[in-house]
């Protein structure tokens, strides 16, 4: 029988460890009445966060075009599905860029994380600082510097320049998430695998890769969502014919409000809910990257 490797055993979660009894966090320190100050604040902030989403969803069923309530209607959904070619083209562009840039960022970022965490070499510090900076600069700066760069080296603005920009701002996040995962990695399992007769290749495929996969997956998920979401940087580096969904939404907001945005919002919110539900195991890792 082949031994099936379980990556969960590699992390330091003290699930099955024997030791002094520790009270579960929510039972420690009897301060957890449902109506305590912090709980009330949490509920209020969540309501605040969802208020705008609720409002757009409400208006998406509004028969009248303005902000006044004019009765229930599915008109804007029909329009979104059957009469919004330009919007769907923009969505297609966004999807292409999100997938390609996330793939490149995930590949380069994960490799670099392995390199930096497991090996010592001269430019290690340089790589670490370099991977940190893009995360803490405002988007406007990254967008402008890239616009000036692309113009200076005569790369035409369009799908390619957007792809490059997105891969660039996604790289640090993937690097960070995979690095965090590698920090938890227990090297003794590699030795154990080798002792038990696994070849270098088998160790890589059955031990190392499965154990860092959660980091890689959450990195890629993060990269895809950030790419789909980005407006500011894309705004600078896009050219004719490379309108992405956020750019299209922006033009709809600026040049006359269109209720189609409302119906689009519900579709997007629902897909994000599904995404969050499917990837709920990674939510904590993603939170830690912020």
């Amino acid at each position: 029988m082949r031994y099936r490797f379980e990556p969960s055993r590699l992390t330091a979660t003290p699930k099955n460890t024997v030791g002094p009894y520790k009270t579960p966090k929510h039972q420690v320190f009897t301060d957890h009445r449902s109506f305590g100050f912090s709980n009330v604040m949490l509920v209020l902030v969540i309501l605040f966060l969802f208020l705008p989403l609720f409002v757009v969803v409400l208006y998406s069923f509004n028969a009248s075009k303005g902000m006044r309530w004019g009765g229930f209607s599915l008109e804007w959904y029909a329009k979104l599905l059957f009469d919004s070619d330009e919007l769907w083209r923009a969505f297609g562009n966004s999807a292409i860029i999100a997938i390609t840039s996330a793939l490149v960022a995930t590949l380069l970022g994960s490799l670099a994380a392995v390199g930096v965490k497991w090996y010592r070499f001269k430019s290690r510090n340089y790589i670490q600082v370099l991977s940190f900076l893009p995360m803490v600069l405002p988007e406007v700066i990254i967008g402008i510097s890239m616009l000036i760069f692309f113009t200076a080296v005569k790369i035409p603005l369009g799908m390619f320049s957007i792809f490059v920009a997105h891969a660039t701002f996604n790289l640090p996040f993937v690097f960070l998430l995979v690095s965090a995962r590698l920090d938890e990695f227990d090297f003794s399992v590699i030795e154990a695998a080798r002792d038990l007769g696994a070849t270098e290749r088998q160790t890589l495929m059955r031990v190392i890769i499965p154990s860092i996969m959660p980091g890689v997956m959450s990195g890629m998920l993060m990269a895809i969502t950030m790419s789909l979401e980005d407006f500011v940087i894309t705004f600078f580096v896009s050219g004719p014919g490379s309108t992405t969904l956020p750019l299209y939404v922006y033009s709809m907001i600026r040049y006359g409000v269109s209720p189609v945005i409302n119906s689009l919002s519900l579709v997007l919110i629902l897909s994000i809910m599904v995404l969050a539900l499917v990837f709920r195991r990674f939510l904590k890792t993603i939170a830690a990257s912020r």
Partner: protein, 300 residues
């Protein structure tokens, strides 16, 4: 953390793995930043672009009182919104870390956070505009007779900025508080500390790095905000981000845009250095003081 004791000393492999990302970020991030620095010292070209001639004009233009006013306003709005954001986010992070349903709360914070930012700003326009959700609701309830002017002013900008960046603060705070050993609070209480004392003298010092991270990740993006002041702000809500973009797209004064970008970059760098120093201090303090942290945090 045994990654350090186990670090392999393979130089070639380490470089091979890291080089693609290193090269990519050098070419597409560092070089563009370098170009910005260079451009800020050059003369403005007639139709956008630059001429290859050294000039400090961009920096003297920056001293224009109009720009200075915008700079001070940006700083003020940023400080205010960051402060409000952190104040709201702290109890949230705490409640989430203490909750039995951490994943549920995380999901509830992340869903709006992942929703397209333009759609969220658009939603705020729908809420705040003169015939928007809030005005219509208040009118229907008979609280107000006439619509209030809720949008296109400073208040709207701050509200929406706080809204946009609260998740940026909640997530790192949650992560740090989640790692905190709550038995220390219990110990402090047992030793006679009052509840606020135990929170401010035991919890807060222990999650300092999380607070610093939250401040950095809200302060810096708000300082460079562009879309929010543009779409929900009025004439007097322009921020530095808007000026930079106008210099690029309208006035086509690239050296000035570059000079402003450089200022923001420097401000961000100072923030990041502060963050790194303060987390490094915390780590060395924890190491030097004692192996076992003082559970009372000096309360008793």
């Amino acid at each position: 953390m045994n990654s350090h004791s186990n670090l392999k000393r393979g130089r070639r492999l380490g470089i091979t793995y890291s080089a693609p990302m290193g090269v990519w970020l050098t070419v597409f991030f560092l070089v563009p930043l370098g170009i910005i620095i260079l451009y800020s010292f050059l003369k403005k070209g007639l139709y956008g672009g630059v001429e290859g001639e050294f000039s400090l004009v961009a920096y003297t233009q920056m001293l224009n009182p109009n720009f200075l006013r915008v700079f001070l306003r940006t700083l003020w709005v940023t400080v205010l919104s960051t402060f409000a954001t952190i104040l709201l986010a702290l109890p949230c992070g705490y409640a989430m870390a203490r909750s039995r349903h951490q994943l549920l709360w995380l999901g509830l914070v992340i869903i709006p956070f992942w929703t397209n930012s333009l759609i969220r700003i658009y939603a705020w326009i729908a809420i705040l505009s003169s015939e928007g959700f809030l005005n219509e609701t208040l009118k229907a309830l008979g609280i107000i007779g006439e619509s209030l002017q809720l949008i296109y002013n400073q208040g709207a900008v701050i509200t929406v900025l706080v809204y946009m960046y609260i998740p940026f603060a909640i997530l790192p705070l949650f992560t740090t508080i989640d790692k905190f050993d709550f038995q220390l609070l219990e110990a402090a209480r047992d030793l006679g500390a009052s509840k606020p004392e135990s929170i401010f003298k035991v919890l807060v010092p222990n999650i300092r790095s999380g607070i610093v991270t939250a401040v950095i990740f809200t302060f810096i993006p708000i300082f460079g905000a562009y879309t929010v002041p543009l779409l929900v702000g009025g004439k007097d809500s322009y921020m530095i981000g808007n000026i930079i973009v106008d210099q690029v797209t309208k006035t086509r004064n690239w050296p000035l845009a570059s000079a402003f970008s450089l200022v923001i970059t420097l401000v961000s760098t100072v923030g990041v250095v502060w963050m790194l120093v303060s987390t490094a201090n915390e780590r060395s303090r924890n190491r030097s003081e004692s192996k076992v942290a003082d559970p009372t945090g000096g309360v008793v």
